[in-house]
């Protein structure tokens, strides 16, 4: 094959992966089948790694495929499969076309940030052994891209969908359903936007610097690609040091002074090959060398640029901290929904929630915190939108990890969508019958807030919505004409339907608190233990009617 065709081939493959991956995160109408997710995300390194660590299986072996490919061909993952990598390429491509002086040199060889990069990889691994994948979740390129797509792109797609729906509706066409969507909290948005901004700025100025200084997957694959069978090499005889390859190298890894390619940093984009008029830079078997390159002397220090970079990093860190602060405010401000019109007598007892509710199949909060990388695919896929992004719902250990927000919706009893889509296995893919027994949290009733008690009027919204009769209605002791909720906590699955449906304002009369360890609920009983005896309707099969 002509080597200059490698570049367009790589570009095509990367755009296909980017489009398919993005489609998963903006599928507002829920059209994509589960198998599609499995196919598209099979090769995503971090999700696959986490799955593989929990249970080595072919379905989780994407990481091995990527490692094997890297050992053979270099960091093909980074150039073709990684959505954040392709996003950076698009950004630097657009940036290259729009810059003030299109003739100025775009890229030049830069010294590696090995200490920072491998230091971060080491810190990630140390953290992992300590039970926290915090750094990995933050910097994993797939999750970072997923968060950005779910929080920033999905609202745009949903809005477009709703505008189209409205347009059709004005012609009396109701075929396209509007979709509901919610802004994430300010803190989550700020944190996501700040990291994305960092990626954008780095990509505009230095191509794949993120991949070669911060990305843990990049670091891991850099180690592997140093041993690659196939590498990009400069033909010492052909090269006339014209630098046409070096100025298009997004990884800034072509060292012309020594006619060497730092293949650990090369993302196998193949842009350099068609750039060379002499065919002096080629892709081939690593040890078939034409000539020994001279040993490189220590590179001269460049005093200015790292300084600017450091300032940039500090800026992003500050923005991040500010975002964390803001989100704290948001949580407190959001506790009281300003929903009018209200009940006659505002409820008085605040809801004392202690634990976040993790999605069904998380196992325990500790396990979930250790396995979730906050890619927000579950957030995008949840049909009721009950899974919401959160900054610190689980404390610092679960930074950015999603939880169930019963103010937004409740978990459908027979739905296992989040487990189907979760790329890392943090939410286990349970069978429907198994999921119906998972206790995500436990119901609590605050009688003093209940409208039946305060206003002496019928309600029952909580019991109505309960799928297991963990909440059921019994005659109220002070007025037997009325019925109040009673709890059967052993059958409660913590789906939050009761809390979501509870109409009282401002504090709910019934709520679900999370369980640190997700337990096993009893199957629904045929009759609630303290419920009223079932009415037996007259089975009207004769020729008479009761009227």
């Amino acid at each position: 094959m002509q080597q200059h065709r490698l570049k367009p081939l790589r570009a095509l493959v990367s755009l296909v992966f980017l489009a398919l991956t993005t489609a998963l995160f903006v599928d507002v109408q829920g059209l994509l089948p589960t198998g599609f997710r499995d196919l598209v995300l099979y090769l995503q390194v971090v999700p696959s790694l986490l799955r593989f660590l929990e249970g080595p299986a072919w379905a989780a072996a994407g990481i091995l495929v990527v490692l094997g490919t890297t050992l053979l061909f270099g960091r093909v993952y980074c150039s073709s499969v990684c959505p954040l990598g392709t996003l950076q390429d698009l950004i630097s491509w657009v940036g290259g076309r729009w810059r003030r002086n299109p003739k100025a040199v775009r890229y030049r060889y830069a010294k590696p940030h090995s200490r920072l990069h491998f230091g971060l990889l080491l810190a990630t691994l140390v953290g992992a052994f300590g039970g926290s994948w915090l750094l990995l979740g933050l910097l994993d390129p797939f999750s970072l891209y997923g968060r950005s797509a779910a929080l920033l792109l999905q609202p745009a797609v949903a809005t477009g969908n709703n505008l189209a729906a409205r347009g059709l509706e004005s012609w009396g066409i109701y075929g396209l359903a509007p979709v509901t969507w919610h802004w994430a909290g300010a803190g989550v948005l700020a944190a996501t936007a700040a990291l994305l901004l960092l990626v954008v700025v780095l990509a505009t100025r230095h191509g794949r610097l993120f991949c070669n200084s911060l990305c843990p997957v990049g670091a891991l694959l850099a180690l592997a690609s140093r041993l690659s069978l196939f590498k990009i090499r400069i033909d010492q005889g052909q090269c006339n040091t014209c630098a046409r390859c070096s100025v298009v190298c997004k990884a800034e890894c072509i060292d012309l002074k020594h006619k060497r390619v730092d293949f650990g940093r090369c993302v196998a984009c193949f842009d350099c090959i068609p750039a060379c008029p002499e065919s002096g830079i080629r892709y081939g078997i690593a040890w078939a060398r034409t000539a020994e390159p001279p040993t490189p002397p220590p590179p001269p220090p460049s005093p200015r640029r790292p300084e600017r970079r450091r300032r940039l990093l500090i800026g992003v860190a500050l923005a991040w901290t500010a975002g964390l602060g803001l989100s704290g405010l948001k949580v407190r401000a959001g506790a009281v929904p300003a929903e009018a019109p209200r009940n006659l007598r505002p409820s008085r007892v605040p809801v004392p929630k202690a634990q976040a509710v993790a999605p069904p199949g998380a196992g325990s909060n500790a396990r979930f915190n250790a396995t979730c990388t906050a890619c927000y695919l579950c957030v995008s896929a949840c049909p009721t939108r009950v899974i919401q992004p959160a900054l610190l719902a689980y404390g610092a250990k679960g930074l950015l990890q999603p939880h169930l927000d019963f103010g937004v919706g409740f978990c459908t009893y027979s739905c296992v969508r989040c487990g189907e889509v979760c790329p890392t296995g943090a939410i286990r893919h349970l069978a429907v019958e198994a999921k119906k027994r998972v206790r995500m949290g436990q119901v609590h009733f605050i009688e003093d807030n209940c409208v039946v008690v305060t206003d002496r009027t019928a309600c029952g919204a909580c019991a109505e919505h309960c799928p297991t009769r963990a909440v059921f209605m019994v005659p109220y002791r002070e007025d037997p004409q009325l019925r109040v909720p009673e709890l059967d906590i052993e059958v409660c699955v913590g789906c939050g339907a009761c809390e979501h449906a509870c109409p009282v304002w401002p504090h709910k009369a019934i709520y679900v608190d999370g369980e640190a360890e997700q337990g096993l609920a009893q199957p629904p009983r045929e009759r609630s233990p303290e419920g009223p005896a079932p009415r037996v309707p007259v089975p009207n099969v004769g020729t008479d009617f009761p009227f």
């Binding site: 969507w181 919610h182 409208v451 009027t457 919204a461 109505e464 009282v504 304002w505």
Partner: protein, 311 residues
Amino acid sequence: MKRRNFLAAAAEAGLATGAALGLGALGGPIRVVLADEPRGSEALAYDLVAVKNGEPDKLFDAAMDALGGMRQFVRPNQTVVVKPNIAWDVEPERAANTNPLLVRRIVEQCRAAGAKTVYVFDNTCDNWRSSYKSSGIEQAVRDAGGTLVSGESERYYQPVKVGGQRLTEAKEHELILGSDVFINVPVLKDHGGATLTVSMKNLMGIVWDRRYWHRNDLHQCIADFAAYRRPDLNVVDAYRVLAHNGPRGVSVRDVTEMRSLLVSRDMVTADAAAARLFGLNPDQVDYIRLAAAQGVGRLDLENLAVKRIVL
């Protein structure tokens, strides 16, 4: 409305206004929602038709024959909205939703009577897509040539003045406001909060904010809304009846097969007859008593023209 929802809605509304203007300029008519007008006021042969001992579709056919056919209610080229109960993500055997075979037959009859479009929707409790699908109603409506519409989007609900004692205003689905004929198709069920759910309770699925009703005297709100909105026809599905653990039920053991159907223009009459069928005195259900007292309809079944059919 939560602030972030409000912001989202405001942003969309702003964009949509621009888009609507654009579409208007392109020649698309801008929808105008008209206030309710009295429909089909001709006298019927019977105030109530009760049918038993048949499959859901046959029960409905028999009732329509007794009333002089679907053309009594639907004229050619009219738009019809059929509102079954599709509240829950459960299968038809659980009787938590209206029987799909009945819905199918009603849509078919409307189409046969010349209806231009037959819309079907409910503001579900569980996720609307899964409820439409599990209930079997999605398939039934597709097969019958009807049009399923989401009830989950607030923008479909337009503010209306109800003017009741506790319920003064509500947001009502625009298809109810804009269609020529409204056919209410509740399923008879036990109900933990409202004692029983039939025709009047089923109208909670055509408004947006149900929570308001629940925290402001549920029974009075149901009666208030029943005084404001009177369907052109009420078809009560009592083929399978959720006898206890309603309105959602836990298993098929909650279900009693009654193989019956009630049809009336008057919701109070339909609900009173349904209560008796269920084994309750209509007075035991507060909203039936309140609605009758407010003059919404009649529950003195013994003084009404009732057609009883046993298949």
